[in-house]
């Protein structure tokens, strides 16, 4: 009977005579991981040992993080930006079509178009993704420091009367994550947003310059050693049992110039746990030192 209702529901919703149920598809994870007496490691992702000998020769450098390069390469305007304010290392600029904030020391960039998005047009999201990638490559990002790319629609849903309106498209977002040799760099990403008219309207980046030397990209530890280190790190974090997935990650270490060096670490990820007070303990990642070497 339940299936029949669900099958008929879209028609009923379209006819305006039904509440569209939100299907809660996941049961809380209570009692599964807690039943374990100790940690149970899944080290599958560690099998592929990081192979990058060094950072890619082509990578974002400090000299590329100037406002002229950002406005021309990333935002695509030839207009010279005018500086508005500076707070700490954060500097604000304006052109006739953009507001820009940048902090070369942290690699933070936020460009926002001041021109409202036009009417929606049919777009090719693959093309938008390619254009978004082109923008950060023109900025000076090297193709060898680009990891996974996610193309997503951003949506909005209004609720003014008795029932919410249908969801509507707000824009197209390209999430580009930094990685070296397939190993993700924690916290570094670029998000380029195109409006419904297919025109770029936002660019948010955390992509600091990489130092030319000083990276610790490898480890001599074996899997069993890393599991031991993970057990210790998890214990320090207050954990005592549960399923744990281990993976590689590069943690950025900021130098005095604002450039970052990368340090290989493992991540130990635990699943969400439902608590008795009705809340859920977040799925957490604990960093594991693997005594990285150059």
């Amino acid at each position: 009977m339940k299936n029949l209702f669900i099958a008929l529901l879209p028609l009923a919703v379209l006819a305006g005579c039904a509440v569209d149920p939100v299907v809660e598809d996941d049961a809380p994870n209570a009692g599964v991981d807690q039943a374990l007496a100790s940690f149970e490691f899944d080290s599958t992702a560690l099998a592929k040992v990081p192979t990058a000998e060094t950072i890619p020769a082509a990578h974002l450098t400090l000299d590329k993080l100037n406002e002229l390069n950002i406005t021309s390469a990333l935002l695509g305007t030839t207009e010279k930006p005018v500086r508005v304010t500076a707070v700490g290392n954060n500097q604000s600029f304006k052109t006739s079509g953009w507001e820009l904030e940048k902090d070369s020391f942290t690699g933070r960039i936020f460009g926002l178009s001041t021109i409202p998005s036009g009417p929606a047009v049919t777009v090719d999201e693959t093309r938008l993704q390619r254009l978004a990638l082109d923008r950060i490559l023109k900025l000076g990002v090297g193709s060898g420091e680009v990891g996974r790319i996610l193309q997503r629609k951003s949506m909005l849903q209004d609720f003014d009367g008795a029932t919410p309106d249908a969801p509507t498209l707000h824009g197209y977002k390209t999430f580009i994550f930094r990685a070296i040799g397939g190993v993700p760099v924690v916290g570094h990403r670029a998000v380029i947003t195109h409006g419904v008219d297919g025109v770029v309207r936002r660019a948010v980046l955390k992509w600091p310059a990489l130092a030319s030397t000083g990276h610790l990209l490898h480890t001599k530890l074996l899997q069993k050693d890393i599991e031991l280190r993970a057990t210790e790190a998890l214990a320090r974090a207050g954990e005592s049992k549960g399923k744990v997935m281990l993976f590689w990650q590069y943690k950025p270490v900021v130098t005095t110039t604002g450039e970052v060096t990368l340090k290989l670490m493992a991540g130990a990820r635990m699943r969400a746990i439902a608590q008795t007070d009705g809340t859920t303990e977040e799925p957490r990642t604990v960093d594991v030192d693997v005594y990285a070497t150059p």
Binding site: V22, G238, Q275
Partner: protein
Amino acid sequence: MFEKRRLSTLVRGGAGIVCAALAVLAASPAQAANEVQVYGIANFGGSNQCGNSDMTHSVHTETAATFRATFDMYKLAMLWDETATLNNSNAKGSLFQDASKKASGADTTANAGGDEADVIYVHTHGGHTGPTYDLSVFPPKASGPAYSSLSMGNASFACSVRTDSDMLWGNTGGDLDIAVIKACQSGDYGVWKFGGYSSMKTSTSSLTMWNAFHGDSSCGGHVTDYVGDYAATSMNNGVGENWIDEAYDGAFWPWEDDDCPVSIVWGSSKTARKNMYENGGFRDRKDTGTKSGSTYFYVAGCDPDHGSKLPE
């Protein structure tokens, strides 16, 4: 920005109104300043703490500190007025309860209550309930309650506060404009769709934005990174959309789920709410008018643990 609007209103209103308004401002310093309060609830299960020790996540206070750091920098530049941290046992449940809903409510307590600040950041554990759908009738009937709940830090006060029965923001004596909630299920789509967050405000409330998560959100050092970046980039623009850009993540590893940040904006019109989401900032809190409607902003198809897949 509210402060600028308030001053321009004073000038237009004449001397008598100016004097009356100044008296009110003097009596209520919270409403005269740009204030941020951060609550990192990291410790659980200890003496006079809530929950159990497994819930202890030291990162929660680290993200609170990094969120506050941007405001401290702006304060040094005299572009922000007040910052405060209430971590762990100082994050009492009563500070998230409105006196009109709970007798113990103290959300307007000076330099502590959530409704005493213009901006709050909370990092703790969260959950949600309902709504439930009766599929034995056609069309299915939804019923409450529907709410999110947040774990608090002091067992002498409420250990769990609910968005429906405890919280009321920006009402009389309150000042809250923007809440950033880093907690699982703190902005659940089903709860919003049922209207479960509407009782957190009145039509004349100052509360404009609730940036939170649909479903579970991951925790770790990466959160400290993106929360710091979010605060730093959102002082002037993009206070809603930056939250989506910074906190969204698609599942990458096995048995990992999506992180689904959402932004709920209240206001009188679709245009005003969208403008706040795209162009508002912590220092540029747009006037969205009466809080008669809301908009839910999200990433299409985002599919978290402990939450439905968001519509595409």
